[in-house]
């Protein structure tokens, strides 16, 4: 028996290597957890609260905050404010977008909107409503009051006031033409304090601001002008197809152009033009804009699309 045993081969005995690395596995797991936590709490962007009148179209955990078409945050929670007058929308910003949480930032909800003269937010019909932002420059803050509508595009512009006897077809966003080129738009229309006139607030894009002089004449270019003359026959004219529906304003500046105006200048809005006005063609150098800004003057308002 003993002899037989000696003939048998001997199994080899080797040191196991795995046991050395064994405890690296839970350590790696712990490191992974630490990384998850760090990413969520240390490197995460701030959570901001935006108060909206209505959060219609937004969904918890689902709706996004987009800026320039890039997702920079997500809606975490929607809660009714204590006074039930607003909805607090909690948005978790990405770390890269922490800079958006500054005083002066304007947040609004982009919804599909179809108006005369412009169609905006069509994408949201398919992709759902989302929040977007116009960044501000102030101090860091986490509380915002949401805007109901897209803020007026951040265009440097000349603000003017036009007084008229009646409104006709004018409305917000009605165009303002100079020689048929759109150079501005109506911001809002309201009745004057004493109810004797209609006050139309309008803005002229910065580039075209020099065209407006103290002695410029403004007239209502909306609708159709219908002239019936004994010798000229019937004459039909309209400024553009858009003004047929949404109304519009045109203006002209006489050849002896006087001083340029500053913000808040007040003009009379005439009901219609006089033939002489349309023949005026003074030489006025336009203000050239830096390259980056010219994009902003594109119309309709690109920031809402």
């Amino acid at each position: 028996m003993n002899e037989k045993m000696n003939d048998l081969p001997k199994a080899k005995i080797e040191k196991s290597r795995l046991s050395l690395f064994l405890w690296l596995i839970p350590i790696a797991a712990a490191l992974l957890c630490a990384w998850y936590l760090g990413r969520d709490f240390l490197f995460a962007g701030p959570t901001i609260t935006i108060h909206f009148q209505s959060a219609e179209g937004l969904q918890e955990q689902t709706s996004l905050l987009q800026y320039r078409g890039v997702t920079v945050g997500a809606v975490e929670a929607l809660t009714l404010a204590k006074d039930r007058q607003s909805v607090a929308v909690k948005v978790k910003l990405d770390a890269s977008a922490a800079n958006l949480a500054r005083e002066g930032s304007v947040f609004w909800i982009v919804r599909p909107e179809i108006k005369l003269g412009s169609v905006t937010g069509l994408r949201t019909i398919v992709l759902g409503d989302y929040i977007t932002v116009q960044p501000g420059q102030g101090a860091r803050t986490n509380f915002f009051m949401g805007a109901e509508n897209a803020p007026i595009a951040p265009i440097k512009a000349l603000a003017i006031e036009l007084h008229s006897v009646k409104l006709d077809a004018l409305q917000a966003q009605s165009p303002i033409f100079y020689r048929g080129i759109q150079v501005g738009e109506v911001l809002d229309c309201r009745l004057s304090d004493d109810a004797r006139e209609v006050v139309v607030h309008a803005r002229i894009d910065e580039q075209y601001a020099p065209l407006v002089r103290v002695n410029s004449k403004f007239w209502n270019a909306g609708g159709i002008n219908f002239h019936l003359g004994l010798f000229s026959g019937a004459k039909l004219s309209a400024e553009s197809a858009q003004t047929l529906l949404s109304g519009g304003i045109a203006f002209a500046t006489p050849p002896d152009a006087q001083n340029a105006v500053s913000n808040g200048a007040v003009f009379m809005l005439n009901e219609k033009s006089e033939p002489a006005w349309e023949k005026w063609s003074p030489v006025i150098p336009l203000r050239s804009l830096p390259e980056a800004q010219t994009n902003h003057t594109a119309w309709p308002n690109l920031s809402t699309n």
């Binding site: 005995i13 196991s16 797991a29």
Partner: protein
């Protein structure tokens, strides 16, 4: 400890000397490992189940699936999935998913950690046996893998309708699955009733 063993792979009967700790026996002919006992059973079980326990938390707190469907960015954790099942009156399937993917994995991981930590305490022997019984009972119901499979299938099948991505928790979820499997494989139930001398040698 001179003894004869037969290799499970090639059947060669051979002689084995005393095996020191942290060593493996290799067959003289086919060089496959000859297993008398599972190697380092206790340490391995502890390491794997500890890692599984650590990753159990992110795998249940972070979304497993992210679906982009009609502009909605839907993130779902395992728990939210179960809640959705309950909201749709699927109580049976909801509880089944809860048991197989949340309850039993947790019980099993904690049980394995308890057993491997208290192996040297003689007075907890009965508790250990009881816990091992429980693990044996719940083991068939521990089906994390099925959930993982469901995710993979939905990612492939729904690819046309919705963009389905693995969520942030999917890596830790998969790791929990694998680590739990490894912990089960490394655990040698004989440790439960080994005498203290055997324990010192085999653990």
């Amino acid at each position: 400890m001179d003894k004869l063993v037969a290799c499970q792979t090639c059947g060669l009967v051979q002689e084995v000397d005393e095996v020191p700790k942290d060593s493996v026996i290799k067959c003289a002919r086919c060089h496959f490992q000859i297993l008398h006992r599972r190697l380092n059973s206790r340490a391995r079980t502890l390491a794997f189940s500890l890692a599984a326990l650590i990753l159990y938390f992110p795998s249940n707190l972070y979304p497993i699936v992210t679906a982009d469907y009609q502009g909605q960015h839907i993130q779902t954790t395992v728990f939210q999935g179960i809640r959705a099942l309950f909201q749709h009156q699927q109580y049976f399937i909801g509880s089944l998913v809860f048991c197989t993917s949340i309850l039993t994995p947790a019980l099993k991981i904690i049980g394995l950690i308890f057993i491997s930590l208290t192996l040297n305490r003689t007075y907890w022997k009965k508790t250990r046996t009881w816990i091992f019984k429980v693990i044996r009972i719940i083991d068939p119901w521990n089906m994390l893998e099925v959930f993982l499979l469901a995710i993979c299938v939905s990612m492939v099948e729904l690819g046309e309708v919705a963009a389905v991505h693995p969520g942030r928790g999917v890596f830790s979820f998969a790791a929990t699955v694998v680590l739990t499997l490894l912990a089960t494989l490394s655990f040698d139930s004989r440790l439960l009733w080994d005498s203290p001398a055997e324990k010192r040698h085999y653990e």
